[in-house]
């Protein structure tokens, strides 16, 4: 497939119902932190974007959404071209102004502090981080508590940001300000809203 075709193809086949399906998965995930919600491969985007990341982008982004992309995504003209053609997003270089951040290399991502946390009056003016990971069967099992979780939830994303526990504790401590995380795995997604309390599960 030529580069140009890659950019223009691979969008939702049914814009209306596909984005509704992905949104419901996102809403379900955000309302039930750590729950792994299966989604179909509804959009196909050029590397390094995976199908789930592309679907989330096509569901949430438009000309009203400023998005910060990490280096591997920015370095790919095809990936950026796909995002622009299919969503019309505004790419921003300043993470502290971004509504969303698209992160393909989770281990190398900037700290949560680099992104918008919102203000005390408007804590919703914060960045939602979309982390692209391999799967939800990672070695480090996290125990989650908080709104949306009946008793406890166990969550094991394959990749986590550096110093995740410390960063998350600081993020939780800044409530109601803070960032929210969406994890885009293979064929599934999950979320961690800022309200979730996380501890490491004893092996």
């Amino acid at each position: 497939m030529s580069a140009a075709t890659q950019v223009f193809e691979g969008g939702f086949t049914d814009t209306v119902l596909n984005s509704q399906e992905i949104f419901r998965a996102l809403m379900d995930a955000m309302a039930n932190p750590g729950r792994v919600v299966s989604v179909g491969d509804l959009a196909i985007a050029p590397s390094p974007l995976t199908s789930v990341t592309a679907s989330i982008a096509a569901t949430l982004f438009d000309h009203d959404a400023s998005v910060w992309c990490d280096k591997p995504i920015l370095a790919s003209d095809d990936a950026i071209g796909w995002l622009k053609f299919h969503t019309g997003l505004v790419v921003t270089g300043n993470p502290s102004e971004a509504d969303f951040a698209l992160i393909s290399d989770v281990e190398a991502m900037p700290s949560f502090d680099s992104f918008a946390k919102g203000t005390s009056e408007y804590p919703d003016r914060s960045t939602t981080l979309i982390l692209q990971i391999a799967d939800f069967d990672g070695p480090q099992k996290l125990t989650l508590k908080g709104p949306g979780i009946k008793d406890i939830e166990v969550f094991a994303p394959s990749q986590l940001p550096k110093m995740f526990m410390e960063q998350w504790a600081a993020n939780r401590g800044a409530f109601p300000r803070g960032v929210d995380l969406i994890f885009a795995g293979q064929g599934a997604l999950a979320a961690l809203p800022r309200t979730t309390r996380i501890s490491k599960k004893e092996a």
Binding site: F23, T59, L60, G148, I149
Partner: protein, 293 residues
């Protein structure tokens, strides 16, 4: 055959849905906080549930089954017209049974039947700001929420006690969500407040004219404000439902004649009908129909 142009699925255009969906995700992440959103003109007047309709339109899909209630009833004007609206613009299955619905849009009641995980309750909200009648300026109420300065609300409840001897607020009774935000549960009777606490269902609130969306995720702490010596209490009724005999459900008074006669019946019509179908009878029930006819 030429097809007439139809509405986009669920009436709203896709850009509007994305905007509302982004607001809903933020609202769920910050329970009880009112997220501003760019509310649209809807084909019904403000005050008829435009906020709830926009939230429902942004989340509903072909796999959903919709129930709409107005003061607990499935068969009153607002409920019937909104249900018909979504049948027309989204062609989704509708129901009056609480247990069969995946999305329940409500005006001022929470169903008596306990909600289940996976269900979403969408409230129509007229005034989302619980502090609005105490402080009219949005800039000030924003600051009060930011600083968690809710003393004024307690003063209001205290003044109730000073004037009436008890907390006289009976609907739109303020709650505190997850120990942080004071929230208006919309004008539901305070009878329903305990149902919001630790509900397995997701609760979304849409205020169309006031342009706010807020949410309570499942299993979230929702506490009605009160005082140690004047604890929160729900309404109680001295008689059971006149049609199904239910005790402990929320009752509406129905005027029967112009001589002061009235009856009390369940406000939740589905709950009442299910009970009657199961053979429960109240004092004003029609005589038992001949079952063998």
């Amino acid at each position: 055959m030429t097809e007439l142009a139809t509405y986009n699925f669920a009436y709203l255009d896709e850009q509007t849905k994305r905007m509302i969906r982004r607001a809903i995700l933020k609202a769920i992440a910050i329970p009880g906080y009112q997220v501003p959103f760019a509310s649209r003109e809807m084909p019904m007047p403000y005050g008829w549930g435009t906020g709830g309709v926009q939230v429902t339109a942004a989340i509903i899909g072909p796999k959903d089954t919709l129930k709409v209630i107005d003061q607990g009833a499935d068969d009153t004007t607002n409920a019937v017209s909104i249900r018909a609206f979504f049948q027309k613009v989204a062609n989704v299955p509708v129901t009056t049974r609480t247990t069969e619905a995946t999305i329940i849009q409500t005006r001022h009641r929470i169903p008596e039947t306990a909600l289940a995980a996976g269900q979403t309750l969408v409230y129509q909200v007229p005034i989302p700001e619980p502090l609005r009648f105490l402080e009219p300026r949005e800039t000030e109420t924003r600051k009060m929420h930011a600083l968690e300065e809710y003393g004024l609300m307690h003063v209001k409840l205290y003044e109730d006690i000073a004037r009436h001897g008890h907390i006289a607020t009976t609907y739109a009774y303020p709650v505190k969500v997850e120990g942080r935000y004071v929230m208006d549960p919309s004008p539901t009777p305070k009878f329903d407040n305990p149902k919001m606490h630790n509900s397995p269902a997701l609760q979304l609130f849409g205020a169309g004219r006031e342009k706010r969306i807020y949410a309570i995720p499942p299993y979230t702490e929702v506490v009605s404000l009160d005082f140690e010596d004047h604890p929160f209490e729900i309404q109680t009724f001295s008689q059971p439902c006149a049609l199904c005999g239910a005790k402990g459900s929320y009752l509406d008074e129905v005027i029967l004649d112009d001589k002061g006669g009235s009856m009390f019946v369940c406000s939740d019509t589905d709950f009442c009908e299910e009970r009657q179908a199961a053979g429960h009878r109240g004092e004003l029930s029609a005589p038992q129909a001949e079952a063998a006819e």
